[in-house]
């Protein structure tokens, strides 16, 4: 049994190494232009694995393309998912270079397990909006409108960051929400609006923006009291520490922050 497991581990290592094989010549990373903070002179080459919260999908895909354009020697692979699930993968030893979480609490589990290289940096923030069907058929304007009887509302479960934010926002507004369902993540809550099963859902502004063809996002003032910080950090056991550091710096450059704000995020 042990032999088989060792064999598997070896195969994984070989496969990982093979991915970067074609760029094994150690050209220095060109980095971002001199004007931006992302330029690094280290000789980073090869694959870079970034674990990121699902809400970062659209923005990070674009940033990844930009990063590869600046650093042709580096090949970025993203793995998107619920922040807490990703944090668990990291603390269980998954080989990854960078972690971007949707909440400081999930980042803390990685930091507390000693898996972060240095202190995480908050690079963007996200806040809630009310997602309603296109054209807002029920005429929802405020958070208090969601308490109208016969109105079906979805929120995230309190265990996930968007649910915790919803609870905070409702408390700030002095509103008692009676959702029909507490969804396991923000995309599921949004899907229930898209399918017309609920009349409204509390989702991140970025999610509403990404689904603008099917839903409208309604801003409400109380969401300012429940802003989610997104921290990013290079990981201690990163197979590619130089590229990890370069990516973390690159995400915080002006041009890439613009990509993030276009997606609906706010600067910290």
């Amino acid at each position: 049994m042990t032999k088989i497991l060792t064999g598997l581990a070896l195969a994984t290592v070989l496969a990982t190494a093979a991915c970067g094989g074609d760029s094994a010549n150690s050209d220095a990373v060109s980095g971002a232009p001199a004007s931006s903070a992302g330029s690094v002179g280290t000789g980073a080459v090869g694959p870079l694995t970034v674990l990121a919260a699902a809400s970062l999908t659209e923005a990070f895909d674009k940033i990844g393309t930009d990063f590869e354009a600046r650093n042709p020697q580096i090949e970025v692979t993203f793995s998107y998912g619920g922040s807490s699930g990703l944090a668990q993968q990291i603390t269980s030893g998954a080989p990854a270079d960078v972690f971007a979480a949707a909440s400081p609490a999930t980042m803390d589990t990685v930091v507390n397990a000693g898996d972060a290289a240095g202190a995480p940096v908050v690079f963007v923030r996200n806040q809630l909006v009310i997602a309603v069907g296109k054209g807002n058929p029920k005429g929802i304007r405020t958070l208090a409108d969601l308490t109208r009887p016969a109105l079906k509302v979805a929120v995230c479960a309190e265990q996930v960051p968007c649910g915790a934010a919803a609870t905070k926002a409702a408390a700030a507004a002095g509103v008692k929400l009676t959702p029909v369902t507490q969804e396991q993540d923000v995309k599921s809550a949004l899907a229930k609006v898209k399918l017309g099963e609920v009349d409204a859902a509390l989702v991140y502004r970025t999610d509403a923006k990404a689904a603008a063809a099917e839903v409208d996002g309604i801003e409400f003032p109380e969401s300012a009291g429940a802003v989610n910080d997104y921290p990013i950090v290079a990981l201690k056991d990163a197979p590619n520490p130089a590229a990890a550091a370069a990516f973390v710096a690159f995400v915080q450059t002006e041009s890439e922050l613009a990509v993030l704000t276009d997606a609906g995020f706010q600067k910290p």
């Binding site: 049994m1 807490s84 029909v180 099963e197």
Partner: protein, 250 residues
């Protein structure tokens, strides 16, 4: 022998992992937490109701597939296995498209009877039955094929109606197959996650079954998720072992 043992180890080792990692010292306190009992009760109730629904609809369907000959039977048999192949989450979306508020049947149900299935306990039963029924149908169909059809023919020549022959002759013959199918069906319904959370949503006490509670506990606290999983495992193994004894002794 070695492949058999390796197979067993492969199935049992993850369970051992759960047992080793379980927070035994805080176990009683964690089990006493409110909400756990509600989720367990809901799981047992919905899995049992789903199994009953599958028996009512699945046994006749299995009989149709095993005992009658009609054009397109192969296709029907393949269609029966669709829920096995379909990712459960997709199954949940498909159910929403049919039984949802704007679904083909759901819209009519809502307009005519004021019944909406999503986000209700009935919705949980529906989702579980959808995913679990193939296990029952396949198992019962296999039993029917193994049972000698001449007994039924003899009953028919002696004047029994088709229903009487089925009830008095066929059913006793295939009882072990039906029981095995029902057990598989119940176990699958008990562990159902994807279709349930997609179709019925997640609301404590109403649609939050144990697998949903486990998934959400995992978001915050791995230990809590392990405790919930062990509880679900223990209860289901206990029930299945008890039932099994009863069948073999009678």
């Amino acid at each position: 022998m070695i492949p058999a043992l390796a197979g067993l180890a492969f199935l049992v080792l993850p369970l051992a992992g759960l047992l080793i990692r379980a927070p035994w010292t805080t176990l009683p306190a964690r089990l006493a937490e409110p909400g756990i009992l509600a989720a367990l009760r809901l799981s047992l109730l919905t899995a049992t109701l789903a199994t009953m629904a599958c028996l009512l609809l699945g046994v006749p369907l299995a009989w149709l597939l095993a005992r009658t000959d009609f054009r397109g039977r192969r296709i029907v048999r393949a269609l029966v296995t669709v829920p096995l192949v379909l990712p459960p989450v997709v199954g949940g979306v498909a159910l929403l498209l049919v039984f949802g508020r704007r679904g083909l049947i759901g819209e009519w149900l809502d307009a005519t009877f004021g019944v909406t299935l999503p986000f209700s306990t009935a919705g949980v039963v529906l989702a579980e039955a959808f995913v679990a029924m193939p296990f029952l149908v396949i198992s019962v169909e296999g039993a029917l094929r193994g049972a000698d059809a001449r007994f039924e023919e003899a009953a028919a020549t002696l004047g029994a109606s088709r229903w009487t022959a089925f009830r008095r002759v066929t059913l006793p013959l295939i009882a072990p197959g039906v029981a095995a199918g029902a057990v598989l069906c119940w176990a699958r319904a008990l562990g159902e996650f994807g279709a349930t959370i997609t179709f019925a949503g997640n609301f404590p006490g109403r649609t939050q079954t144990m697998p949903l509670a486990v998934y959400l506990a995992l978001e915050q606290d791995v230990d809590a998720a392990i405790v919930l999983s062990l509880l679900l495992l223990a209860v289901s193994v206990l029930i299945l072992a008890t039932l099994r004894d009863r069948w073999t002794t009678t």
